[in-house]
């Protein structure tokens, strides 16, 4: 029985593949025949229920929860950075690979400095990306810069890959006058209109159905763009995740759901987050193409995202990528993960299976990167980050007037009154407000 289901599962995959090639190039709207309900035919000894097809059976048997189980983890490199199957080598140029590496390590350096600066009380909060650099850079590189990104909060590398300058990362974390978000949100809530990166919001999973709506609108524009939506395996438990998955499949939206499965949602391990075979296993239930990849293999992430992106746009359908990785850092600066996981566990990922070391092995084997290169790059990148860091720290905070703008597109009379009353009050009680730290 089990086997039978697995066979069905395969057959369905193949059918979907065929359909895919037939539909290639078409971006327009059409109710595809595959998805239309079957016409009613009472003469057939087949179930006629509008909500399902298949055969009748006369044996009572429950479907096993592990019908879909052991979804394999796609990888290109082994842990030593060797290409396993040459046909899967993305054959990226030396320049591209070095760029991957430099972005991954620059992100890591920025994380260390900002984490430490929070520890010293210089910024209020921080979240590191340690161990997940491969998922960020591999996926970002596979997209078109015009593709719209909806992130969760632990995807700073995507923004960095797109060219967000260190100065703006720092400005946001310091909430200084250069922050594009005008100092309103906590650190790591980046956003960039120019780089098609929708501003991060703290409430989890809310971006998932939103990404689907954007993908739908983009499909109607017929502009050869896609949407990518990042989220954690924890956020995938929210109702919004279900809504997003189901909408994207039924409304045939060109988007990539990119789940970073890093093993934890704060302290909650995956075995308390879900049963069944992870997030990828949900795809078939929604009628959605899915794959699981090794998130610590930047090439695997790159290949999967590239192909998903190509097909999402060509076929107007959503793809689900579950990237297996590990959150090496604490959840955030408010967390101490030693309360719920062992240092040995963390060390394994940090020392034995890190996306940065894997890529470095690959580069070293090709003589693309020497010890000297490493040393001078580490030094240079650290210097770059420290310089912008010091600049950001010296900068004033945004003008307090910005407390009242952008609530609505226009300033309302009510808000204007409140703004004026605050201003009068602060004039009168100047010595009690930190006005000198703010832009005038």
């Amino acid at each position: 029985m089990n086997n039978m289901y697995r066979v069905c599962f395969h057959a369905a995959r193949q059918a979907a593949g065929l359909k895919a090639s037939r539909l290639l190039q078409h971006r327009a709207f059409r109710a595809s025949a595959m998805h239309r309900q079957q016409p009613f035919d009472s003469s057939l000894e087949k179930p006629q229920f509008p909500g399902a097809s298949a055969e009748f059976v006369d044996q009572l048997e429950f479907i096993q929860p592990n019908v879909i189980s052991g979804i394999p983890v796609y990888r290109v490199m082994d842990r030593q950075g060797n290409i396993i199957n040459p046909s899967q080598d993305p054959e990226l140029s030396k320049e591209t690979v070095l760029n991957f590496y430099q972005k991954m390590t620059l992100l890591n350096t920025m994380d260390r400095i900002l984490y430490e600066s929070q520890r010293q009380g210089r910024i209020s909060f921080y979240m590191t990306n340690y161990g997940e650099e491969g998922t960020h850079i591999g996926s970002a590189a596979a997209l078109d810069p015009s593709d719209l990104v909806f992130g969760q909060y632990r995807e700073a590398g995507v923004l960095m890959y797109r060219g967000f300058p260190l100065d703006l990362f720092m400005a946001q974390c310091y909430a200084n006058a250069d922050d594009l978000g005008k100092g309103r949100q906590m650190p790591v809530h980046y956003g960039s209109k120019d780089l098609n990166f929708v501003t991060i919001s703290s409430p989890l999973a809310t971006q998932i159905p939103q990404a689907v709506g954007s993908a739908y609108a983009i499909k109607r524009e017929n502009a050869n763009r896609a949407v990518i939506c990042y989220f954690g395996e924890g956020a995938a438990s929210e109702g919004d995740a279900h809504a997003g998955f189901n909408f994207s499949a039924t409304l045939e939206c060109p988007l990539i759901f990119f789940c970073r499965n890093n093993g934890y949602a704060i302290s909650t391990p995956t075995n308390e987050q879900y049963r069944g075979d992870g997030i990828a296993a949900r795809g078939p239930g929604y009628g959605m193409m899915s794959i699981r990849v090794d998130g610590n293999d930047v090439f695997a992430v790159y290949n999967a995202t590239k192909e998903a992106r190509r097909r999402a746009v060509a076929e107007n359908q959503p793809f689900l990528i579950e990237a297996m990785t590990y959150r090496i850092g604490h959840h955030s600066t408010s967390d101490d993960s030693s309360a719920y996981r062992s240092v040995d566990e963390v060390n394994y990922w940090d020392k034995q299976d890190h996306p940065i070391s894997r890529l470095r092995h690959y580069m070293t084997a090709r003589n693309w990167w020497s010890e000297d290169d490493e040393r001078s790059w580490r030094k240079q990148s650290r210097k770059m980050v420290m310089e912008v860091f010091e600049r950001a720290e010296r900068r004033l905070k945004p003008n307090p007037e910005l407390l009242f703008t952008d609530v609505y597109q226009e300033m309302t009379p009510n808000l204007n009154k409140q703004r004026e009353s605050l201003w009068r009050h602060v004039q009168q009680y100047k010595e009690h407000y930190p006005v000198d730290l703010y832009d005038k």
């Binding site: 994380d111 260390r112 400095i113 430490e116 929070q118 520890r119 010293q120 009380g121 210089r122 209020s124 909060f125 979240m127 340690y130 909060y153 310091y174 909430a175 100092g183 309103r184 906590m186 919001s201 703290s202 409430p203 989890l204 924890g234 956020a235 438990s237 929210e238 109702g239 919004d240 949602a265 704060i266 302290s267 909650t268 308390e272 090496i328 850092g329 955030s332 408010s334 967390d335 101490d336 993960s337 309360a339 719920y340 240092v343 963390v346 940090d350 010091e390 720290e393 010296r394 905070k397 307090p400 910005l402 407390l403 808000l415 409140q418 009050h425 009168q428 009680y429 407000y433 930190p434």
Partner: protein
């Protein structure tokens, strides 16, 4: 996001484990350090004013607010074998440490993590209560209660009424950290009580400190109506009192007069009580004005009588909360008092509240209804 606030309130702690983040410590040039004070949180906007040591409930011990919550939950798990406690990250003690030790003491079938889903947490809690057991649900931050809005407003609040009292979920209590914390910004600072005040069928309760927290939480758990219990998270560590070890209750829907006065009535709840107490002292010292300070404690159903009695005496009313002023609960109090006490009023009722904006990060010192704004409002009312 970022929950996690085991250490939300103590900055710069935890040097212990610095995974991958360790290595070289930051060394910054002197020019850079000169401005570090700009980054540090300003001193708290209030001075915590502890309650006197309660004598009527037996032996007491020193507890901060999160420990007094733990103590209430501990008492409940010990005395009520049906009671279960659940939510995101509660098993290891919760991001604010309110459930520390309870899983080990009472078992993982009674204190457990749920998947990350607030609508699930509240819906599940309603079901537990409908089946007759005691449900204590934790929402990690009040700001994240909205995915559960439908379960609370359309389900929990209406269960008894719609079934003709055949079914109810009175055994449900929802706890959530609440209010500003100094650097929480939009989604770790909200005070959403007014949304729920518009919802007949639930009770909404907010304590001002550890002694009240324990007694009021135990009342919520015992109360046969679904209750939302908002915990001022800035007080979790900052507020320390002598708290009775045994179980005790403090009645719901009863405001408490904390300080008697003759010239002006000041009403608040949660953290803002401590701002009010300080303002009352300032008004006495600088203006010779005598303030009556009242802690409303239960937002719904609220104690109209105590407030009105006070306003009849003082003729003036100041209400203050962190939530935006428009449609905030101060508006409800104001309009009721205006109806009940119109002829007693000597000045228009005054509200000092948050502005009608989201809760901003770097502008928090300007946003909050601090003591200077409240003090200024008193001056205006006295000189009206």
């Amino acid at each position: 996001m970022m929950a996690a606030a085991a250490r939300f309130l103590i900055r710069g702690a935890n040097p212990k484990l610095s995974i991958s983040g360790g290595g070289t410590l930051l060394k910054l040039s002197p020019s850079c350090s000169s401005r570090t004070k700009t980054q540090r949180r300003h001193a708290a906007h209030f001075t915590y004013h502890p309650d006197p040591v309660p004598t009527q409930y037996g032996p007491t011990t020193k507890m901060n607010l999160f420990q007094s919550v733990t103590s209430a939950l501990d008492n409940t798990l010990a005395s009520d074998p049906t009671a279960v406690i659940f939510g995101e990250d509660v098993a290891f003690g919760g991001v604010f440490r309110c459930t520390v030790g309870l899983r080990d003491k009472y078992g993982k079938d009674r204190v457990f993590n749920t998947p990350l889903c607030e609508q699930g947490i509240v819906g599940f809690g309603i079901g537990v209560a409908v089946a007759g057991a005691t449900a204590i649900a934790e929402i990690q931050f009040a700001d994240y209660i909205y995915p559960a809005f439908d379960q609370i407003v359309n389900e929990a609040a209406k269960y008894r009424y719609r079934s003709g009292n055949l079914f109810d979920c009175g055994n449900l209590t929802i706890r959530a950290p609440w209010g500003c914390v100094g650097h929480g910004s939009l989604y770790h600072s909200q005070s959403p009580e007014a949304f729920f005040a518009h919802c007949p069928g639930i009770k909404v309760v907010i304590p001002r400190g550890p002694v009240q927290a324990k007694g009021l939480l135990l009342s919520c758990i015992a109360d046969q109506n679904p209750c939302i219990f908002f915990e001022p998270k800035i007080l979790y560590r900052a507020a320390v009192e002598q708290v009775p070890v045994e179980s005790y209750t403090i009645p719901l829907s009863q405001a408490e007069v904390l300080q008697e006065g003759s010239d002006i009535t000041m009403v608040a709840w949660g953290t803002q009580i401590h701002v009010m107490r300080e303002v009352a002292n300032m008004a006495q010292e600088k203006l010779g004005v005598s303030c009556e300070v009242i802690d409303l404690q239960t937002i719904l159903p609220w104690d109209v009588e105590t407030i009105c009695k006070s306003v009849v005496k003082t003729g003036r009313l100041l209400i203050s909360h962190e939530a935006p002023i428009t449609g905030g609960f101060a508006a409800e109090i104001s309009s009721t008092v205006q109806e009940e006490c119109f002829l007693n009023l000597e000045a228009p009722i005054s509200r000092v509240c948050g502005y009608d904006t989201p809760f901003p990060h770097i502008f928090e010192p300007f946003y909050i209804p601090d003591k200077w704004k409240c003090f200024e409002a008193i001056k205006k009312m006295i000189n009206y």
